[in-house]
Structures are given as C-alpha cells and as structure tokens.
Assembly symmetry: C2
Homo-oligomer: 317 residues x 2
C-alpha cells in the first residue's frame, strides 16, 4: 500500500520541494477586493523571483527574503495563505541586484539547501508559476497577446474572437528505480553529468500514455531492459522548469542491456556493493534534494536496512 | 502494492484509452528518410483527425478508418509502429465530410464505445497530440510563428533570436474515491451533469504540488472533507483535451461536508445501498469508459465482492 502516512521506511521521503505549507486558497484568486486588503495587511509577503529563476534568500537567517506586500496590481501573483497572511510573487528582471548585502539570489537547488522544507516548496511553486507566465505572453492559437487573470493562475487571449484560455502547465515525468529481483539495480548517466555520477532513469509522459506505459517505454528506450510489474511510490515537484516527478519501482523481466541515445551509460549495479563504490568514489549518487536519490536509498534501505550516502549538488538546468 | 499486473481485483481496470499497442519508436521522429520510406510502405496508415476532435471510424467493422499513407510532409505526424507498419495522423478541417457512407466521424467517447481498446488508445493519442499542435502555432514567449519538428512532437519558434522549443502538453489531474472507513463513499456532481449522476472528485494538479497534496486540496475545496492516507491505484489518458487522470483512494479523517463552488452537490453514500440506488434510478454512475466508474466499482468490489452498473455515456467536452 502506497499510503503516504505509512511508516517512513515504506516510502521515499526527505526530498525537496514536496512539503508545501501554503493554503492555496484558490477561491480568493478572483476576489480582487479581498486580495487588495490582504496586500496591505501587516503579515503579507511579496516574493520576488528573477527571470533567471533565482529567488531572494536571507542566507544568514536561512529563510526567504520576502518583502512586505504593499500593493496588488495586474503583475502580482497570489500564491496562497499562511495562516492569515497572504503570500504574493512577482517576476523581476534577471539582472536585478540584491537589495541588501545580507540577501542573495539563489537558484532553487541552492535555495533548497538553505531553506526550511516549506519555504523551499513555496519557492518552487512561485518559480514554476512565474516561468509558465513567461512562456504564455502570446496566444498559441492566434498569435495575439494574452492577459493574466485569476491572480496569475490563468492566461487569456486578448483577441475577443479567439478568447483561448490557458492554465499553468505541469509536465508529468516518470522516474523509476529498476531492479532485477536478485539484488541488482539499473542506473544510468546523462552525458552532461560529472563522471561517475549515476541515477535512476526518467522521462516525460507522452500524450495518450498511462504512467505505467511511460515507465516501460522509457526504460526500454534508454536501456533496452523490459520492465514488468511497476509500483508507484511517491511524487516530487521538480521546477526545472515545470516537471512533476512520479516515482516508481519497476521489476526487470528481460531485455538485453543496450544504452540508449540519450544516455552516456547505463549499467546494472550489485546492491551490496553500493556503499563501497560510493565510499571509494567509484560511484556518485544524486543529491539528497532529488527524489532520484531517495528512490535508490529506499530500495537499498528496504533490502539492507541502512541508508546510502547522497551525492553533492551540481548545477544543471 | 499497486502493481499493475496484480490480480484484476487489486486494481481498477477496463477503462478506455489506456491499452495503447503502438511502439512510439521515438528514435524515428528525426529520421526523415526512414519516415518517407514508411509512408509509402503497403501497411502504413494515415489517421485523419478533425479539428473538432472527431476521428474517422468504420462503424460496421468496428475499427479506425485509417487510410493508406501516401506521402509524408511537414503537416503529418508520426504516431508509431504496429509491427512493421507505421501509423501517421493529420489534422483536417472541422467541416470535412465523411469520404464514404460506411464511415463516420465519431467523438472519442463514441469511438471508445465502438473500437477495440488498442485502437481507442491510438485515437486518443492522435487527438491529444494534434490538439496540442493546434494550440502551439505561435510562440508564447515572443509571438512569432512556430514550426513543427520531430514529426509533430515538437514546436519551435521561427524567430532565431528567441528559438523557444515546446513539447506536447499533458495535464496531470488527480481523481479520487474517498471513503470514511465505515462503508461510506464520497461522490459529487457537477452542475452540467444529468440529474442524479454522481462521480468521484477530481481536479488538476497545480505547479509546485505533489499528487498527494493535490488529492487533499481538491477534496477539501470541493467537499470540505479532510483526507489523510492516500493510495495511488491507476492512471488513464483522458484526451478532453489533454488530461492524464491519476486515480487514488483516499481515507477521510475529518472535516464537515460543505459543497464547494465548483460542484452542484456532494454527499456521502452508503456503499451497501449503491446497487439499489442505481437499480431504482436514484443514482447514475459514470460510464464504463472512465476511470471514475472503475474507482468506485473497485472500491465496491473489494468490499462486497461484486460489481456495480456503470452509467450511460453522455456528451461533454
């Protein structure tokens, strides 16, 4: 049973961006009067997000450097409520300097390493929503400009004859720890990664495809391995820029290992050897902020009763 | 364990659009020479999809009325391989008449009721992909026209300075059968539905949200009910126009039932009374093509050892 309140060992946990604490209060998105009141309330906060995806962080205090929200206009996005306090977000240019030497613009991986889990999730939410807005300035149907509505949660074509509406996009992607049922685990590495770094296989779900079919197709494409039974384990928002990682376990039932065109390598690792490979530097796993590490660690922990060492964070898009 | 090859009773099954049999052969999407060869091969097929989403069906034979594919040009989309035979799709105007009195343009619900499961899944895949193309003719970043590439699976901005790329969109949505652990099940109805029709609650996953949080948020928004443990069960492509339904069971742990603004009604039903309510016409469930029916039926079947009667198909968008 993939119940997410089950005992910790039964599900991957501890990855970033997944512990959001805001009440999204969607019913307020169309309530301009209430939002205007909230904007000037003492506890309300405005989170600036740079166009390059960086978030303003008070690294000394280890918290988001959200400013008091002083006004609500067409450019502001309502994120939700924290108790009675409203959180807003606004996009600012990529070259915006830090307003104060105690504050820093951090990318989301850096923010996740610095912030409490709930604030990292708020940052990821804000970043994903504002990135979508930046890609939806013009109507894809007719080419007219769009206008944001619902406090940043809808884009509408300004051409009355077209009137197309758009809602924030989230790209579902499967990510899967594959084993062979005899103690071996299938990991791969992308060409852009540091040497010796390996991770679980992953890929976007395509139109007209179930999650389960996407798991089997991606593993076959990237490794030639045929997956039979699959089990959903957990999910993680992954705002690079707009993915939702859907974590699975898959059992290999056949297929010759052939490295697909998207990977630099894929191979079977003996589970019992993982701690030594990691300790000796022969293998680096993904960082603890990613669900990929926790899928591997969860598999290892269920089998060997202890945890693995996550790898360091390195910058990618 | 939510393994999709487990015994039938352990997972919902039998809904439409989920049994795709095409090999998507993504490696061929950039291989223009091979696609041109495939297009004139005797077994290749071209599936026309009307701009209103209707698919050409040979209702007498109960199969897709795909035509021989005679050429591959910039407007054709490669769907995949069935054995050695290629399937292509092409969008045609909404007023395209049927080319033959034995063929009919059916919407996807009608097609699902007529076609074998694998052909209904192909139709849903083609429809979802072509709908995405129709919404991605202009670049959302800069307003320039886009051009399709990768045999219909990518759109690229034609402005060289922008060059934004877009990939097919799939909107993840949760759909959840909520029970109270004491034999009652929570169902709701939308204002546009026929009277007495009730179904499971559902809603889109938002940016920066886990599936599990989306389940709890949607149920709270629509019914006031607080959900604790959740369990993933199964997924269904739902091309109306581009959703992916992620089916869950959720256990209510509190909250007063208050009908949310999106629903006409929501109420607790006594599980034991469902067959009689359905037989007497007091309750109509969703049709058998939807995962919503199968989530309810699966819950009932686990508890009472028998199946429920699905409702009729009615047209919605």
């Amino acid at each position: 049973v993939a119940a997410d309140d089950a005992a910790p060992a039964t599900r991957p946990a501890g990855y970033a961006f997944a512990r959001g604490a805001l009440d999204r209060a969607a019913e307020l998105r169309a309530d301009a009067a209430r939002l205007a009141e909230l904007a000037v309330a003492p506890g309300s906060r405005l989170l600036p997000v740079r166009a390059d995806g960086r978030i303003l962080v008070d690294t000394g205090r280890g918290q988001l450097a959200a400013q008091p929200a002083t006004n609500v206009d067409a450019d502001v996005t309502f994120l939700g409520l924290q108790g009675a306090d409203a959180w807003f977000a606004r996009s600012v240019p990529a070259d915006t300097p830090t307003p104060d030497p105690t504050l820093r613009w951090l990318d989301l991986r850096g923010a996740a390493a610095t912030l409490p889990a709930d604030e990292a999730a708020t940052a990821a939410y804000a970043r994903a929503l504002l990135h979508w807005q930046s890609r939806k300035r013009w109507c894809g149907v007719c080419g007219a400009p769009t206008r944001l509505g619902e406090a940043g949660h809808r884009a509408q074509c300004t051409d009355a004859a077209c009137g197309a509406q758009y809602f924030p996009r989230t790209d579902p992607a499967i990510i899967v720890v594959v084993d062979d049922g005899a103690g071996r685990i299938l990991l791969g590495r992308q060409p852009s990664w540091p040497e010796k770094r390996y991770s679980t296989l992953a890929g976007f779900v395509e139109p007209g495809e179930t999650l389960e079919d996407a798991v089997r197709r991606e593993v076959a494409e990237e490794s030639g391995v045929r997956v039979g039974p699959v089990e959903y384990l957990a999910s993680q928002p992954w705002p690079f820029p707009a993915s939702l990682m859907l974590g699975f376990h898959g059992r290999a039932v056949g297929g010759e290992l052939v490295v697909g065109s998207e990977l630099a390598d894929a191979r079977w690792f003996d589970g019992a050897a993982l701690p030594e490979l990691i300790a000796s530097g022969e293998l680096t796993l993904p960082p603890a902020l990613s669900i990929s590490f926790h899928l591997v660690d969860h598999w290892f922990q269920r089998r060997y009763g202890r945890h693995l060492q996550p790898g360091p964070v390195f910058a990618t898009r």
